[in-house]
Subunit: 184 residues, 2 copies
DNA sequence: GCCATCATGTAATTAGTTACATGATTAG
DNA sequence: CTAATCATGTAACTAATTACATGATGGC
């Protein structure tokens, strides 16, 4: 028996990769881009983390190289064992649910500011959140224009709703700051 | 000139600690508990990370020991420099906004499942989210019963609203699974 | 006296970031 | 021919987790 089944720690990067590869076989380069796209709100990883993990995934028999492309690129696909590992993680795996969200942390700290600092900081966060909302809506449009819809389409809806709530909350927070009617 | 001002990387743990100490001076032990409480949705840290960072904070003049208690406990408070550092981080600091949220990742992967697996996984997530909502409401009640309100009270409202939206979304997801009328 | 909790640390490991390094292909 | 992008990797460092380790205090 291999010890791969014993690995019970979080290993979210591993499962994020298995998930992306389940949607469609990809090269490391493509995966890097996909981590910066739809998955960015859930988990981020850069290429220097992705390539070694792909190699480990292949070593553990959870993924395999299914083709080689133009610039020495290798396309990986998830194996049956990989699919089973992912399934097991989603339905059985006990979640650690540890969160690290710098934006949320900032919003906590917003409450410690007063006056002008507070107003400016909230305005900045609100601008960010609104830009985020625009991005999400564009992503949704792009997703709907695609010939075959992404399985992750519903999570875009969720992200949109959450961001709307955040914008509303920030707007309310802004209204609690004593007004400064004439800037400059 | 010291190089402390140059440290421009994220260092969110540092600023989370400065924030908590701004609310009230605390021991490392108390901070550990507070990270598992209100701040858990934004940033988590265990004691083995907190104690060394407190020492570094004191070394950099951003916090200081203001009292010693019964069991060799030391109470830290934020210094003026620490307050300024936190203010700077919130209003000026350019955010990395990297997120790592295992729950969100799981919800992405939910979309890759079908049938019974999918239904069970969504039910589990929904139960978790509802329990979370109950926790948040209890925390809100406790916060309101306090003699002086926590500055972080508004962020509890936000967390509650977000969790409500999540529960609604999971409920919708559950309804997309073809029904299985008789279990067992 | 014993157990729970308070209270603080360090060591070993794993995860994640930043910087370095290289080379192929394609569009202009 | 040259710049952008495709494509992959490694090295050095910092952050975070898990496990180990110790001891004080207070309630029973």
């Amino acid at each position: 028996m291999s010890d791969s089944a014993l690995a019970c720690a979080a290993m979210s990067l591993r499962h994020a990769l298995l998930g992306l590869l389940t949607v469609r076989p990809s090269t490391g380069y493509e995966l890097t881009q996909r981590f910066s796209g739809s998955l960015a709100h859930a988990w981020y990883a850069g290429h220097s983390q992705i390539y070694p993990e792909l190699a480990r995934l292949a070593g553990d028999g959870l993924a395999e190289v299914v083709g080689e492309g133009p610039r020495g690129s290798r396309t990986y696909a998830v194996t049956l064992a990989g699919r089973e590992e992912l399934r097991h993680w989603v339905v059985e795996g006990e979640p650690t649910r540890t969160q690290r969200n710098e934006t949320a942390l900032r919003w906590f700290m917003l409450e410690l500011l007063e006056g002008d600092d507070r107003r400016r900081a909230i305005e900045r966060e609100l601008a960010n959140a609104r830009a985020e909302l625009v991005d999400l809506r564009e992503a949704a449009e792009r997703a709907d224009a695609l010939p075959e819809p992404s399985p992750f389409r519903p999570t875009l809806v969720l992200a949109e709703r959450l961001t709307e709530v955040m914008c509303g909350w920030l707007q309310e927070q802004l209204e609690t700051v004593p007004g400064r009617s004439d800037p400059g």
